[in-house]
């Protein structure tokens, strides 16, 4: 009884301390957008879901001006009759101009807030965040944007790019984040490119074709379909009949069920010589010309051409990254691992990175051709 009574008292008296969040009284923020204003204030665009039996459209939009992320929600609260909460936030969109100045200051509270989900996508808008979030659609825009990224990531088209990836790539020395870049086409948000970050500063972008190459180096593909263009000339003798009259120079090849593995090794720590071995197993699904594949020779030739092509493209992509001084692939991290007892600093790597020498060895292996799964 001596224990029970105080506990009962405490339970009764402390009930008032628990803050209730009844679902129907909440404005549940699902997307957040931030843009830079001229006077260095941030213009926030918030999409939230509210439940009102009288209002048919549950998705509402509110804007506010503030200097910080938490301030944005606070300021927006004054403009709505619902209590704004961030526990279902799925997407943070940053305007191009803001991203160019660094976005991490608007993400730091997110590291510590247990209420906000970790499955959250950080994206950059090609114009402003407001443009993306005010697109007039008949569907749920938050859901659309989230699924746009999520499904493409699951389909292995986009690289790993949720908030966790951003956070650790930002914090690690020798690797830089890469996040989707949203462009608006025909009043619909699409992903055309990927935003490259130097730490948290948006500096450039990769095309989706380059994304494939980037993923080849960074991640393993399990089953993906990819179109590759190779020169037509070496296969001239095997082409029965020219069907593709549009393109006389090139042969377009579709590889399906593409499976890849990669290994990056640092050959020489002094001269920074890297070796990237990439192994690709794939099915040959479609060719733009009717190439007669009668023996191994044709296939070998094709494998060789594809390897060459990918190799070339990889080198081009790396040159672009080096030029931007963005180490998205993380060569610095490998360097840091190999050279123990020497603390790699951010500044030092930025100096070293443009001087690295990378050799790509792509080994393409066509397992089957013409077979649909």
């Amino acid at each position: 009884m001596k224990i029970v009574l105080p506990i009962l008292c405490m339970a009764t008296l402390l009930i008032g301390c628990v803050d209730t969040k009844q679902i129907e009284q909440l404005g549940i923020i699902t997307s957040y957008g931030a843009d830079l204003l001229e006077d260095d204030l941030i213009n926030n665009t918030l999409l939230y879901t509210q439940f009102d039996p009288d209002i048919k459209e549950p998705i509402q939009l509110v804007e506010s001006k503030s200097n910080s992320y938490e301030g944005a929600v606070d300021a927006a609260n004054l403009k709505t009759n619902y209590k704004l909460v961030t526990g279902q936030l799925r997407l943070k969109v940053f305007g191009k101009e803001l991203a160019k100045q660094g976005i991490v200051r608007l993400l730091t509270t997110h590291y510590r807030d247990a209420e906000e989900p970790s499955r959250l996508y950080v994206v950059v808008s090609d114009t402003t965040a407001k443009d993306v979030l005010t697109i007039n659609t008949s569907f749920n825009l938050s859901k659309f944007l989230y699924n746009l990224i999520d499904n493409n990531r699951k389909l292995e088209i986009l690289p790993k790019s949720d908030f966790k990836d951003f956070a650790h790539k930002y914090a690690d020395i020798g690797i830089d984040p890469i996040q989707p870049l949203i462009t608006i086409e025909k009043k619909k948000p699409i992903i055309e490119r990927l935003a490259l970050f130097q730490n948290d500063v948006f500096v450039g972008s990769l095309t989706t074709e380059e994304t494939f190459l980037f993923k080849l180096v960074m991640e393993n593909f399990k089953a993906v379909t990819q179109e590759i263009t190779i020169p037509k000339q070496p296969f001239e003798e095997f082409i029965k009949k020219h069907e593709d009259k549009r393109d006389a120079e090139n042969l377009h090849v579709i590889l399906s069920e593409l499976r890849s593995g990669q290994k990056i090794t640092l050959e020489d720590t002094k001269n920074l010589k890297y070796n990237v071995d990439i192994k690709i197993d794939a099915n040959l699904l479609e060719i733009s010309e009717q190439v007669v594949i009668e023996d191994e020779k044709v296939l070998n030739k094709m494998e060789e051409q594809i390897s060459k092509k990918i190799n070339k493209k990889l080198e081009e992509m790396l040159d672009k990254l080096k030029e931007l001084n963005v180490d998205t692939i993380g060569f610095g991290r490998i360097y840091n691992q190999e050279t123990k007892h020497k603390e790699l600093t951010e500044q030092k790597w930025r100096e070293l990175y443009p001087t690295i020498d990378v050799t790509f060895n792509v080994d393409v292996n066509i397992l089957r051709h013409g077979v649909f799964d």
Binding site: V18, T20, I23, E24, T30, T49, P53, G87, S142, K143
Partner: protein, 507 residues
Amino acid sequence: MKKRTNKFKNSKKKGEFPIVIDQLEQSVKDQLHDEANLIFKKINVQNKNILIFYISYLIDKKRLDDNLFTPLLYSETEWSTSNLVDNLPIGDGKQYQTVEEVCSQIISGSVGVYIENENEIVTFSILNNQQRPLEKPERESIVIGPQAAFSESLETNLNVVRASIKSNELVAEKFTIGSRLPTEVRLTYLKSLANDEDVQTMRQRLNDLVVDDIEDSSVLSQYLEDSSISIFPQFYLTERVDRFNYSISKGKIGVLSDGSPEGIVAPTTFFGFFESTEDVYFRWNIATFFRMLRFIAMFISFILTPIYVAVVTFHYEILPISLLETLGQSRSKVPFSPVLEVLFLELIIELLREAGARLPTKVGQTIGIVGGIVLGQAAVDAGLTSNVLIIVIAMSALASFTAPSYLMGSAIRVIRYPLIIVAGLFGIIGVTFGLCLLIIHLLKMTSLGRPYFLPVYPFVFKDLDNSLIRLPFGISNKRSISYRLKDDTRYKEKKSTKKKDIDDLGD
């Protein structure tokens, strides 16, 4: 009044016999408080005055005429107390020397015979026991398997138990409990199997029980249980004959009491309450599935509504976004807080259940339909509850009825309420806290001194068979080892796996 008590006192004295017939008649009448149907018949055979007395509605009149009056009246020999017992074609003849003892026999369906000037009264039991026949179980119904339920008569119940356990190992110890209204209670177990300690514990509890009367087996089990504070039943009360017998054949102890259509089975585990005898009749894989289903149902039953309350009140973040929209839209019309909403609807369901149980069967069905469909729909239309909640409540109500034991089902339905309230006050933290208390309580409980949460705590791997799951009969050759039975092997493992060769078939 004074006169009567004096007489009463006199009649109690021993050695009042021999007595005059008229005097005996008067003293029996006094003892039985002038029972209107008490019949006295004076006959004279071979110059002996004989008084026969009985209560007319308690005895079998045909047997009275055929086996008592006929041989008595047409006898050629002279009757005496001793040859009454020996020569009358009725068994069960007893001799008494006090009127009080005789009267207690009369009220349990005996006929008293007194030959004038003899020293003893003889009684013969020719009870005409009015009892309903064995019927189908109504509270614990199953689809396949034997369909017999205990009746209110202890004799019948013992009869059916003995009929299916044909072994002289079956012991049925007799106890009489109740100082004012005594009831016969039988402690049954298999001598060669049941744990002596458990039997002794039960025996002692029955012996030590001092109470004026027991109304039913369920009352008796409450007196005998380890903890009377707990909400959970610790002994299994069953009306099914096959379940009772199955338990006894597995080394458990059964208690039957007169006037009750339910047998007590002890010791029982928490998981035992979700076992049905049907699990034995089904194939092992189906039985395991159904048993798992019942455990899940039990869990759903007491966790689903508290979780709903917690999520809707505090933790909107854990919901998937599409579910959040559905929930939010259905909640937006409701004027109450989620706790009140849930309590309101739970109350309706409990009222329906209670009304359905009290009303006659035919009306009960109508009430169920009216309540379930019409009320639920109306409540949603009126904006009193959300339609998601209707599904949640219906599911947890349905789930609570899957427990084979009605007592356990009710216990689960009741523990839901405190959980709903803590969920409304503290959210998931509250629910977790409540669940922890519940689990601590269950772990601490015992049934007849044996852990209640067996075989999970203390964990006994070999006992998972026949408690959480059911293995094929070919494999499960062991009885429960945690009850320390005298013999825990049902059959030798080697013999069951040995295949007969064609050469052995001739043997």
